[in-house]
Symmetry: C2
Subunit: 586 residues, 2 copies
């Protein structure tokens, strides 16, 4: 099935959560105007539809292949990647200092959705390269930046994140890869990393690995981890790839999905040690890696939006073509398109509403990051940074859970055909299933939200955010739009329940941390539903809102938000058996 | 990972929902006693662990293979099937008249769970054979029964259901397969059927197809469908397989899961017409096929329980071995097993609670079927039949949705390892994903519940059922067991909401059917959660309940039941935008 970028939905989201019209008019996004925003999205949509989407299915079937340390991506991928870089898409979000176009996060997130919807396995490589660029920008020396960033920004070279080891996944404190300083200031890196996306491939002339490792005298735990840049090919004097570094891909994983994206086992230093360059300070590597991780967490949330949108497009198209049974609205003697059956409509609208709510939460996070960058007032910038910090785990976690659920519903709409691989619906579920896992599992996101984000500024960050939702409730009550149905009532009820759960968790963190941790996942889920309902309602309340904006806000409030009260209840009152139930897990 | 049949959980469920101890003591299950029940379950568990489970992973990897009309199952399957039949497992639930053991539904459902947990792809073939046996028993002539049933009961021959055609899936009214009566009383069958499970394979010496087809002069729609028995090999005079009938397997589907189970495209009459024998009366085939479908719907619900249980076992085992991070309860200097982390515990308990709730709903349905069979009092038998009718769509739908969700959570517990196929967790999700689709999609189950089952006996069947849950609430309130926490309150709140939704749907069916249909899916979900909470609570209130029974009931009530109020709300108030939102699905 062809892919059509949801440019209108994205623009509606940006107008709502990034106040796009006002900010563009005030020149707050340097160099951007409304026409340019739409032109970029339209062009990205064309490239995605013409070049990336046609490789999605074949890429899944063929998969990445490993042989003798080399990895070949499926036919067409290397050429698509060259076109992608040549067209300047790699450079879009990057700093102009290194050849980038310096477009804001809201734009890079929006086009990121488009790449990943067309072809998630393809989109992952630029996503990680982007994360690596962020980490080098944040922590690298000027020399490292000047040497590596221009080629990474242009897309000539790609980047990787080497964190995980067999016994160090979510918890990096146990990692064993070693780094020893050499007389010339470089480091010898030895160790094994697993789950390294695009650790080896045939799409670019060099691969720049960012590797977490431990110095011989490093403190134990996460305070003894340093970050190194380890290129696949060492550079010659003129900065071009020369001798092969001592790093090899020992194999790739056989996975459930994203088949075209090689997930590599990387061996560093089998021949004595790979040459690495320190990024930032010794033993401070985790802080730099977190720069990369936070950027990547939002990007993974966007991948969730992408898959959800693609699965929804496919299901709607199928439901309009497939005929079965009669419906109360069907005309003619034959069977009705299944889109006319109320239960199928509910399913499709659920998919659509969850997708747009996720998109809005992710783009609100991106907008907060932009505000942190562009705000002239330091207080405003700080508030924006805190808002982005609060929303990042929600964006990553909710959007990726939604991706799995929506992809699964998409299969369901197809009936038996959904279970047959040729239809393409099943691939979306297989691809989506990694999203709640990588870049910090969704459980870890929930723990991050509860233990690190709720306490920000003594709890004021979350309190302010909830108070903003209260303002939305007030506006809904004041609105006389009957088309909004029970939106005001349901958002008020859900907000009250979420606020109570927020207070409960705030208290329990001091007295009984495990009770707060036990409720973290339902709490995050309730938070996201309230946040999504708020943004959809704000879109419906805008001047110029369409009848579809209003119907979508109402659908979400009446059908997706209704879970939030029960989730908040479970977050507050559900933990006793979580913590004391030995026999059940015996 | 090895499989261990959850015999204690099954027995607890049977004691609760089938009143097993009392009925056995009163001789209401002819020929059964408590020791026999446990011996059968233990033996089934041993066979499943020793013979079926070891083929689950290899069967998935190799898959069924088609060549020139023949289908080979993966290595070991044919031999396992021979052992299965030789040990008498095929015959267990069948009528003694044809060589079966005549054990009640509660036992055949329980052992059905065990086969499917060990190996879903294997379990499907006996499941469908069982359905075919039911249909022949219900509608076949004595001659057909005597000729075919003994060999099917013994497992020498397997059975299939041939319903679906490319343009007739959920809606069978459009099916085109033709049957023409011959002078000798047989029929010539011509047409194409798709999605035929085990339509061709190498595990048995004959395959007995039950085929829906249309006579030349048949009325249009579903009142013009007849049912035929079409053997793969026609029988010789002595009843053994002889000449090949005119039916071939033209290919098998490439699917997301149940790889070892061939899903066949069957061509009847490519050489002039397959010989078929009428089952029941002409044009009354759908009624007979529904006998088969209803039996199969409960069996598919049981498959859901099976996958959920297997995924839960695997995740708990992994969570005890995998160490990451520290926990508040961990001792020693190293990392803690992740089972100690509250968020992981919540996930595992959610899996466990949803699984046992599903099991209880399915076994309550089986118990009702048994009561309908064994009750001496015709009124009691009728009430039991109605209860089984009410619960069947709930059992099928909820247990299979749970299977998908629990399998997905199982992957999540494994982290990155869950996305790697070798771990085995991903296979459960791929296998589970067919369950909400086949034997009537879960949407169709919800429509069946709302439009056919709620109106039974003028609504008295559902009212009586809800009133039974009210009795459970009363008992919970009367109980002084503090270990039950908020179980009484939450069940009361959920029951009140469900009752209101039930009244709403009852009214809307008369005045505005689409509003009832639009809420069918959340209504069914709420119904199932209330029913599951009730059975778990009754298990916890039993004499001899364990602390685990009590903790599980509480966990479910405080964490899984809390969704029911919101779901009931959406079922009542969420349909406006479902029915009027043209722009959104444009």
């Amino acid at each position: 099935m062809s892919y059509s970028a949801p440019v209108d939905d994205i623009v509606t989201a940006l107008k709502t959560v990034a106040d796009l019209d006002v900010r563009l008019a005030n020149g707050l996004y340097p160099g951007l105007d409304a026409d340019t925003v739409r032109a970029v999205l339209d062009e990205a949509g064309n490239f995605a539809a013409d070049v990336l989407a046609p490789l999605n299915w074949s890429g899944d079937r063929v998969g990445a292949r490993w042989q003798d340390g080399n990895v070949s991506t499926p036919p067409g991928f290397a050429d698509a990647y060259r076109q992608f870089s040549a067209a300047g898409w790699s450079a879009l979000p990057c700093s102009e200092e290194f050849g980038g176009q310096g477009l804001p996060e809201i734009i890079s997130s929006s086009v990121g959705e488009i790449w990943n919807a067309a072809n998630l396995a393809f989109g992952l490589c630029p996503l990680l390269t982007q994360g690596a660029i962020h980490a080098i920008e944040a922590g690298g020396s000027d020399a490292l930046k000047q040497t590596y960033l221009p080629k990474m920004v242009s897309g000539q070279w790609t980047g990787t994140m080497n964190l995980t080891e067999p016994h160090a996944g979510s918890d990096l404190s146990g990692l064993k890869t070693r780094a020893e300083k050499q007389a010339d200031g470089t480091y010898r890196i030895t160790g094994t990393k697993i789950f390294i996306t695009c650790g080896e491939h045939d799409m670019a002339e060099n691969i720049i690995h960012l590797v977490l490792a431990r110095l011989p005298d490093a403190p134990a735990g996460t305070r003894g981890i340093s970050l190194f840049l380890v290129p696949k090919f060492l550079l010659t004097a003129d900065g071009t790839p020369g001798a092969r570094n001592d790093v090899v891909c020992a194999g790739i994983e056989h996975k459930l999905g994203i088949m075209a994206s090689p997930t590599c086992i990387m061996k560093f230093g089998e021949q004595g040690g790979a040459t690495g360059y320190l990024v930032g300070e010794e033993n401070r590597g985790l802080a730099n890696m977190f720069v990369m991780m936070n950027s990547a967490r939002l990007a993974v949330g966007i991948q969730g939006v992408a898959i959800a949108d693609r699965a929804t497009q496919r299901a709607i198209a199928f439901a309009k073509e497939r005929t079965q049974g009669r419906s109360s609205t069907s005309s003619g003697a034959g069977m009705a398109p299944i889109v006319e059956h109320p239960d199928i409509r509910r399913t499709l609208l659920t998919m659509k509403a969850l997708t747009q709510a996720s998109r809005m939460i992710c783009l609100a996070t991106a907008a907060a990051l932009d505000n942190a960058t562009y705000a002239a007032d330091p207080e405003e910038a700080k508030a924006a940074r805190n808002l982005a910090a609060l929303l990042t785990p929600v964006a990553k976690s909710f959007a990726t859970d939604v991706a799995v659920d929506v992809a699964s519903l998409g299969i369901q709409v197809h009936g038996g055909m959904g279970f047959v691989e040729e239809t393409g619906a099943a691939q979306h579920l297989r691809d989506a299933r990694i999203l709640p896992i990588y870049e910090g599992t969704n459980g870890i996101q929930a723990i991050d939200l509860v233990t690190r984000k709720l306490p920000l500024e003594g709890g004021n960050v979350v309190t302010d955010y909830l108070s903003g939702i209260g303002d939305c409730v007030t506006k809904l009550h004041a609105s006389d739009n009957a088309g909004l149905g029970r939106t005001a009532k349901n958002l008020k009820d859900a907000l009250d329940a979420l606020s109570a759960a927020t207070r409960f968790i705030g208290k329990s963190l001091a007295s009984d941390p495990d009770a707060g941790l036990a409720g973290a996942t339902p709490y995050l889920n309730a938070f996201a539903r309230v946040a999504g309902a708020r943004y959809l309602a704000e879109a419906a309340l805008r001047d110029g809102a369409s009848s579809s904006d209003i119907a979508l806000a109402r659908f979400f409030a009446e059908n997706c938000l209704t879970a939030a009260v029960g989730l908040s209840d479970s977050a507050m009152n559900g933990s006793a058996t979580v913590l004391a139930s030995e026999g059940l897990l015996a």
